[in-house]
Symmetry: C2
Subunit: 433 residues, 2 copies
Amino acid sequence: NSGAFQQVRFTLNSTLRPVEVAHLLEKSPPKERQILWNLIHPENEGKVLQYLADDIQADILSKMDADRLLAITETLDTDDVADVLQQLPERITRELLQIMDQQNRERIEEILAYPEDTAGGLMNTDTVTIRPDITVETCLRYIRRHNEIPEMTDSLFVVSRKKNSYIGTLPLTKLLVSDPEITIREIMNTDIKPIPADMPDDKVASLFEKHDLVSAPVINKSGKLLGRITIDDVVDVIREDADHSLMSMAGLDEDEDTFAPLLKTTRRRAVWLGINLLTALLASSVIGLFQDTIDKVVALAVLMPIVASMGGIAGSQTLTLMIRGQALGHVERSNARWLLNRELLVSLLNGIIWAGVVAAVSMVWFSSQTIGIVIGLAIVINLIVGALAGTLLPLVLKAWGIDPALAGSVLLTTITDVVGFFAFLGLATYFYG
Amino acid sequence: NSGAFQQVRFTLNSTLRPVEVAHLLEKSPPKERQILWNLIHPENEGKVLQYLADDIQADILSKMDADRLLAITETLDTDDVADVLQQLPERITRELLQIMDQQNRERIEEILAYPEDTAGGLMNTDTVTIRPDITVETCLRYIRRHNEIPEMTDSLFVVSRKKNSYIGTLPLTKLLVSDPEITIREIMNTDIKPIPADMPDDKVASLFEKHDLVSAPVINKSGKLLGRITIDDVVDVIREDADHSLMSMAGLDEDEDTFAPLLKTTRRRAVWLGINLLTALLASSVIGLFQDTIDKVVALAVLMPIVASMGGIAGSQTLTLMIRGQALGHVERSNARWLLNRELLVSLLNGIIWAGVVAAVSMVWFSSQTIGIVIGLAIVINLIVGALAGTLLPLVLKAWGIDPALAGSVLLTTITDVVGFFAFLGLATYFYG
């Protein structure tokens, strides 16, 4: 068994890359994860840590003392240290910063000044900078003096001599094909605006997608170059944003650890079940209003879930389309009316088609024309209400600063359940009353 | 008005980048989209087209004749031409290939030989290649002879003189810091394996994420360099994969045009509603079995949606977590049992908590202890079934080659509805019978 451990230890520290070890930890249940973590050499811990999902990172960090934390931060790039510190309680962060050497502390405090979900929080400080007035030849000679250039460097940044102000970008591909005699100023790129450090990370991501960037300069308010953002960090933002809608619609967090321990999971899920229980109780109380009618016509109890379910499904389709449209930046005030109209018409058409089918089935099943008419009308009403709610909820919630992906689905189901039961049983009471 | 048109035409063709024009088209309803498209200069059409979502691209292409299509393909890179051709009916693709010049045709046929969702379908042919036996200095001189190097070139590919076989990769950053006298063979990178052209695109994406790549070489079966994949195309794959789960769970397609016209949308949605109607009818038929019991105790009709809803919500959380876990590569046969156990325990614990609450509410509401016991037991049963279905469905569906994101949610709701109603009404029949 000790031989097997040696084997695993060797694989973790010598065969696999840190990102692969992180993936292995992420797909391991808690006990195995702890065993694997303990087999990682201290000098590799930091590298592995930075690739772990936030949830798991925070969990591992919370078990370390300050000395161990400090040792880890010494193996990492500045931006990654900042990421790690952001997972820690503020008291411990301050303690750590105090025992760091001054240069490191200043750099990290600069990054920590910006929230994690801004350009400043994403950036790294490993830029290669040059002056605008040197020639291509001088620039090439200057670069050759480096032992190595940081990974993901596709461009050098041109800065002023005095205040380190950002002036332009010089792609390596341009440097390589330019006349050696020419100055950097003549060939540098000034098309792409530098990124202000307080820009939200989703805006950064769309800039990268729009301009097919590999790296981009980040500046502070006075135009000083602070660092750069690289595409690998942007890819993480894109993936997390996309996961956010999926997970939120089920009341889950996008950082959620697939293998979170039992009690933590139970607690989180309990809240979501509780919220949805309120919804269900509201729907039940609507049904409660019509007990006399159901007592008279028991078929109503048999058919009523169909009305609620059809409205919920149609509404969810609209809601999902809207939430994705908002995430992609497609949905705006100017085209919301067009979408609302189309969704209403889609629901009207599909309402008529499927209301007809359900009405026919119900008439045959319960040998009653009235019940067919009642359920048909109720389905058309509920599908239209589903389209209304599915279109308007995301717009209203976003305007109120509430996340539509998180609150939208609960509210939508509440509306389609309540309206569905009310319309169906209300119409039945009218017809059978 | 004509002045306004001139203004828009100028903005579309001179101010905005093609990717921004594409985004503008994507967020415009059909009529505005058509007007905007007509204002784009023919020489810009191709560039804009390649950034459009597949659905919209296919729609626009379907309205063009062969001459216009040929003109467009002449303004595009080979891989983008291949992408466009893949949106066209095969008859038209063949026609177009016949009127192209031979060199273009051969290149494009090479790409078209690979499905769109493989490395071959993603790749571009604009590689810069060098021989292993030249020196760094010769290499730099050779590169300076280019007028420009293709965008996103972070590496040169080293190939054999004879068969153009891939040998290694030379990052530009390494080229720039290396001794001019040294040969390429001594400094090239052979760590990263070249990508076989038939590798699925999601595998390509995880390779890029794992190794923080900007570009990577693609080879055929005999090791010949065919082209390269760049991170911008990989980002599209990542975004589409992430969108896929969200959209599929609502029965939508990830390529779905937010502003698809009325009839197209109605037709697609009708199918999904129809499938869900079958589910609802099945649930209703279960209720139908217990009409006598409901007739005796009408409170059952009031409370029964709660049981189905709680099971559905709990099951959806498990299902979403599993589907995301599968997408991230976290869920495997080896850890599925751990997940199943945890999900069952979560449901048991939450079942006991919320069953207690619902039981108490029901007892007070209907002044009956029996109804409280019945609904409490039914909720615990349905939550456990929800956890079972939410965990096992994605595993089974995936093993059968069915997309869990698409089929999972319908099947899950069917199960939690049927079991919920059956358990609740069945227990009631037993207790009240």
